[in-house]
């Protein structure tokens, strides 16, 4: 009777890396004498899986089994500099740095192996943990043997360096002309809601989100990012308000009893779709979508509320009180 359903859509965009540029990421890779690999990065894993992604990239470029790749934590005594884990930048900036570092390390690996095999480095390629002569695949040597030979016999360090980041960008102070935002990624959410017109409560029934991250280096982690973003976006839409008597600080919350985050009870059926529109600058075409996956739900939910009951709630969050007042005002 008093429960009305509605559907809403929102479509968004977001840049990869720091607005205005100037955000380097550096990486170093070194190979141990048994062929295992340490990837040194300076950006932290905030829970999004940065270490997993860097491990996949390093294993791909070095042709070593992924089980042999260690991605270090961050220690300023040993890690190379990185601007940090924010601005949806790590997969793209640190990822590109890891590719460069792996390529440089691979070159050293090839130089050592070329000596062992009596060929030129450019004749070599990597295959299933082996250094292989491209035109004579029967001539092959395990990476571990090359790594061992490099350390004990050749006295070479198989290592590589990488560095990537947007150059600092100036925009025109009056018109903003310039390219402060790079490598835009896109997303869209469809929200289905049910609004109780007697209590003002909104129940989100379903959130379907499609996000373009360019090449998904690990689709499982991308889907996790989209689902996590959906929960955050729902909180922004319906629950979270640090200053309930804005702009005053009256009755400010001091804990989770007075500041409401979405719980499992609030989060509806989630559906995450990965769209891959490869970029020209990303590792394998990747873009960064770390942050933006929480940006599309609030407008989609507000548009769905309008679809359900015909009122615009343009002041977040859409609390039952605001909905009842809007209905009353007609």
């Amino acid at each position: 009777m008093a429960r009305q359903r509605g559907t809403g859509i929102a479509a968004v965009w977001y840049p990869t890396g720091m607005s205005g540029g100037g955000d380097p990421s550096q990486a170093m890779i070194k190979m141990q004498p048994d062929g295992s690999v340490d990837v040194l990065i300076g950006s932290v894993d905030i829970g999004e899986g940065a270490r997993s992604v860097m491990r996949q990239i390093a294993a791909e470029e070095l042709g070593v089994p992924i089980e042999l790749v260690n991605v270090t934590l961050v220690d300023t005594d040993s890690s190379p500099l990185d601007t940090g884990t924010f601005a949806s930048r790590v997969t793209h900036q640190t990822g590109n740095a890891v590719i460069q570092a792996a390529q440089e390390a691979r070159q050293v690996l090839f130089e050592v192996a070329a000596g062992q095999l009596g060929v030129e480095p450019q004749q070599l390629t990597l295959q299933d943990g082996m250094v292989v002569v491209r035109d004579f695949p029967e001539q092959a040597i395990p990476i571990a043997d090359v790594a061992d030979y490099a350390v004990w016999t050749e006295r070479r360090l198989i290592a590589g360096r990488g560095s990537f980041g947007w150059a600092p960008v100036k925009v025109d102070p009056e018109t903003g002309e310039g390219e402060p935002l790079h490598n835009m990624a896109y997303g869209a959410t469809v929200a289905e809601v049910e609004v109780d017109t007697e209590t003002g409560e909104v129940k989100v029934l379903k959130l379907v989100s499609a996000y373009d991250c360019g090449k998904a280096i690990n689709p499982l982690l991308v889907e996790g990012q989209i689902d996590g973003g959906a929960a955050g976006g729902l909180g922004s839409a319906l629950l979270e308000e640090l200053h309930p008597y804005y702009p005053t600080l009256d009755h400010y919350p001091t804990g989770f009893f007075s500041y409401m985050l979405p719980t499992a009870k609030d989060v509806p059926a989630l559906d995450a779709v990965v769209v891959e529109m490869n970029s020209i600058s990303g590792p394998y075409g990747a873009k960064g979508i770390g942050e933006m996956t929480a940006n599309s739900q609030a407008p989609a939910i507000i548009n769905a509320i309008y679809d359900a009951i015909g009122v615009w709630i343009t002041d977040l969050p859409a609390t039952p009180e605001k909905i009842l007042r809007a209905l009353e005002a007609g």
């Binding site: 997993s52 791909e60 940090g84 002309e177 702009p247």
Partner: protein
Amino acid sequence: MADYKYVGKRLPRYDGMQHALAKTRYVNDLRYPDMLHMKVWRSPLISAKILNIDTSKAEVLPGVVAVVTHKQVPHNRYGAGDYPVLADEEIRYLGQEVVAVAAVDVDTAMEAVSLIQVDLEERTPLLDPFKAMEPDSIQLSPIGNFIKFDGNPYRQILKGDFESAIQEADFVVEGYYRTAAQEHCPIETQVSICQTDGMGRTHINTVTQAVFFNQGTIAAILKKPRSKVHMIGGVLGGGFGAKNDPHADHIAAVVSLYTGGRPVKWLWTREEEFVASTHRGAMHMFFKDGVMKDGRIIARSVRSIRDGGAYILTNDYVVAKHAFGVAGPYNIPNVKVISYGLLTNKRPTSSMRGFGLFQASFAFEVQMDRIAKTIGVDPWRLRFINAVHDGDTSATRAVLHNCALIEVMQAAAGRAGIRLDEELLHMASHSREEV
């Protein structure tokens, strides 16, 4: 298409299992011999002048090892050069840190804090960013209340000729939007363990999201070269932007200069996190769009005002990023954006997931639906008609490539079971020819 062995594969998280099994050791799990615990005296007032700080009773409490005020901070400014590590002359927000205490345990540190006497002269707080814009407003900083962008009190974006285009539009659609102030709520609150060794190196177990950024900040506060600030990080229980600015590290690092080499740990309570950590500032956005009968948006103006809180931190960055993207993923030839960041007596706002474009996305997407209802065009169609394509230029006149707005809408509609018109299903971002 390249054939990858690992890239593009649905591999489980490298470190996932140890998180799931609660085997991960976070900073709060670390224990050092002789480790001290820290608490701070926070301002109970929103705005005040500091008249006197008396720490004499706290200093003589048994178990107290160090009591630190602004006088002991080697360089007491950071951020944009305006933010004191420990308040010296004034209080600009509720909960601002004034005195830090290191003691043998948490209870002793709390007792010492309760013995500190700070004399404050209360001032009228400035909490409303609109009032902060008025010429006769209380001025919160020597450079006024407006955060500066290349010397201007605004970040402006101009493309085409908005004023002429709005005259030619069939419809003018206006809207006001506000996003709320939000707390990041990472599961792990701010925490830091600092120790300064006999060689003058300060070792910091940090939960920061930006280790090297903060290494530079803390080195400047301690007046040491970067190589004497050793930060160990990489394991944190969530951030969402709450851990880009220093919260605990910089003050604990200063205190560690005065503990005779003993490590000092500072763990924030949830209440401290809610009251005194950085947060997402509320934002007010006013839209005025010129739209043609067929749905083309030919002109958009946006005026936005961010309630920035007490110090600049990353506010200038957030407001600028907002301004650059707030016109939305649409091909609008005439754009005028003016965005402001205002200082108020709220705790400093700074980065939070979405950096100014969370707010923008909410506004420009609800505005799209309002346009659709006003002119009687389907909301999906309106977005497809205006969507950016490869080769279009953004509001800052940067050429766009690898656009995918159309494709994500097609994918979302498909999965949600929404039937789009054939015409929309045949559109593509790489070219307008296929429409």
